[in-house]
Subunit: 108 residues, 4 copies
């Protein structure tokens, strides 16, 4: 069975494109405009994700969520952050809040 | 070596919390308010991600990106979408645009 | 002295454009796409306003704030709301919170 | 007849509150946190305005638009910009695009 596509795969693809010329790669072009412009795109994709969620349009929500994830990874790259750093942070928080939830259940 | 934490792990954790009581789980409480409210939270986290990116504060950007991913997965759950559906969409697009970039390079 | 330009003037201009053909008026074209699309534009302009504020670029912040106000008034029109209804709400709140602040000062 | 409440009135009220102590005035407290934090609040209010517009809830849209205008004026103050500067920019643009629309109609 083929391994499922993951954020690490997307990050690798973005890294390849980032090293291409801004003339052939849209991603390289966006990165060349700086983090401020990448952040603007992320904000716009978030607005579109919100709207797709409220419209209750599943295909649109999948598409906009894909755009949002893509631009989040481009933004992380523009600030030299690995997506695994973000995932590790989520793991740490999950461990902490898991303990907190267990404590809350015992007390409840 | 332990397997790195991935979106699928986060999705599983969110599913566990979603089945808990809204009194003990913040995630269950948020989901009980409906997709509109989850979308609002996603929008707010996106704004904070934009600000952390512009402030060039790496720790803040990692933290806000984690919040954004968390709320994106809660939003997907509120609309019965699996995160793998979004990742598969990203894989399809990458394949397509990879071909487009190759064509552009040949032409260039 | 000429009367200063106000939101009511902008609303009148938007009303004139709304009645034009979508082929000659960008505003009429946007309105023809429905409130969801106008709301998306408002969200995008808000992101650009946030970025201009963080960049501390006064001219950009004036320009983006103008875009934001314009799209807010187009959004209100798409939902048949007069801008004076919003201003009246602000007046009511100001009266209430003014009293609350006076009370707080007496107590303090 | 009483003069209708306008953005200039709101700006004057915000100026009064800004000069109060952050302990008694919520506005003074927000301003004391700096433009970044005010911009974040503006972004959040924009998200809520988008959601109210999509929910087609008139009362909510009036309320959220009021919140958005309020925070826009607080943001302008945090960057020493007068709201009339933004309104004057809107007047300039309206004059320009009015001419452009007239030209388009003649040509059409």
């Amino acid at each position: 069975m083929a391994k499922a596509f993951a954020l690490a795969d997307l990050e690798r693809i973005i890294a390849e494109r980032a090293s291409a010329s801004p003339e052939v790669s849209w991603t390289a072009k966006l990165l060349s405009k700086g983090p401020s412009r990448v952040a603007q795109k992320l904000g716009e994709e978030a607005v579109e994700t919100v709207i797709a969620a409220l419209d209750n349009d599943k295909a649109a929500l999948i598409g906009e969520s894909a755009d949002l994830l893509y631009h989040l990874l481009v933004l992380l790259r523009s600030r030299d952050i690995l997506v695994q750093d973000v995932l590790d942070e989520l793991q740490r928080r999950s461990a902490r809040s898991g303990l907190a939830e267990k404590a809350a259940r015992r007390e409840g």
